[in-house]
């Protein structure tokens, strides 16, 4: 993670990691998740879903910090993230 000014406790804070799941056929392509992902890890895919929209895809899976913002801004219940359990001390 990049910081403009590194916090003193940056070393001790464990950043959570998430996995993004996309239910492609629910997506209507509004792009809110892509635009407002704080880590900018999503982009429109070139695929079409059943309804003819381009659902998002995860460009950098390792970048997800499981903030759930894509999940809560999605009007379609089409995207959500799940926390990846961290190995202890890792």
């Amino acid at each position: 993670m990049e910081f403009w000014r590194v916090p003193f406790d940056a070393q001790t804070i464990q950043v959570s990691q998430g996995v993004v799941h996309i239910i492609e056929d629910r997506c209507k392509g509004c792009g809110y998740c892509i635009e407002f992902c704080p880590r900018h890890i999503l982009a429109f895919s070139s695929r079409f879903n059943k309804k003819g929209y381009h659902p998002p895809e995860v460009l950098q899976p390792e970048g997800c910090v499981n903030c759930h913002y894509c999940e809560i801004i999605c009007p379609e219940f089409a995207i959500y993230s799940v926390e990846v359990p961290q190995p202890p001390g890792g």
Partner: protein, 283 residues
């Protein structure tokens, strides 16, 4: 392949459900709302708040009126009532008084709640009926194709105000405050965490609570007023200011200036039910 990618792919095999899957009628999804419409987000925030508020889900009911937002009741897997145009609040009033153990949420639109149903809103607030009213304000009548509403900004274009709206809109939190609501707030669909927390608070509030949620109507309002959905969300990001306990008369919606968000009213006032029991049930 990095570790994260490997984990990502491994977990894709056993995909967990969407966290709100158990609260939506997934056999009716996708819903009718247009791409970029704000209702879905406000609706999802309402469901998250339902899950998080600690109330017994079996006691939670949703009542909606007519219009795009009125369809919300059809997607929640709880006792849900899609009533007539403007009458969600009096229906909900009967539901609540008929069984005060129920926790009744009215989810509807600005046209439904404040034009055809305006009278019911002010009276429910005056009575302090314990209801949570969530109004998705998209500034127009979406379902019927984008006509002017009681919330349409001055000079905005709609199909019935082709030269621009010559009427003044309601300031909804001011109206709610003046009518006696116990809890009044406004958020946008971009301020989802604040909104969800606020809805939870409203659920637990013993009294009439009102939350206005600004959400885009890209197809019918945005298109005629040169606002793409993402531009509307940018307005929500850049042209809003959070000011809790702001003076309700300062809450007009004009994105040329700052639009004030926050929790404006949170007061204790005995409810209609408490007062009825105290006054009328003298045994």
């Amino acid at each position: 392949m990095s570790q994260a990618v490997a984990r990502h792919e491994a977990s894709a095999a056993a995909v967990p459900d969407h966290p709100l899957e158990d609260l939506i009628r997934s056999d009716r999804i996708p819903h009718i709302w247009c791409p970029g419409c704000g209702i879905g987000t406000a609706f999802a925030a309402t469901l998250s708040a339902m899950k998080g508020c600690g109330l017994d889900l079996a006691t939670l009911c949703m009542v909606s009126g007519i219009g795009c937002s009125g369809r919300a009741a059809g997607y929640v897997k709880l006792d849900s009532f899609h009533t007539t145009h403007g009458r969600a609040i009096p229906f909900a009033t009967g539901l609540k008084l008929g069984n005060p153990k129920l926790n009744v949420v009215v989810f509807s639109g600005d046209g439904d709640l404040f034009a055809i149903g305006g009278n019911h809103f002010i009276h429910a607030a005056r009575r302090n009926i314990p209801l949570t009213v969530i109004c998705l304000n998209n500034l127009n009548y979406g379902m019927t194709g984008g006509q002017a509403a009681a919330t349409t900004p001055y000079l905005a274009r709609t199909t019935t105000t082709p030269a621009g709206n010559h009427e003044a809109p309601f300031n909804l939190p001011l109206l709610a405050w003046a009518s006696g609501a116990s809890f009044v707030a406004r958020w946008t669909i971009l301020h989802i965490r604040e909104l969800t927390e606020c809805i939870q608070k409203a659920f637990l509030k013993n009294g009439f609570s009102f939350i206005e949620v600004l959400g885009p109507c890209p197809i019918n309002y945005g298109r005629r007023n040169k606002e793409k959905p993402l531009q509307t969300l940018k307005l929500y990001q850049e042209q809003t200011i959070i000011r809790n306990h702001a003076d309700p008369s300062d809450l007009e919606i004009d994105f040329k200036k700052k639009v004030v968000l926050g929790e404006f009213v949170d007061k204790e006032r005995s409810t209609c039910i408490e007062n009825y029991d105290k006054t009328c049930r003298l045994m």
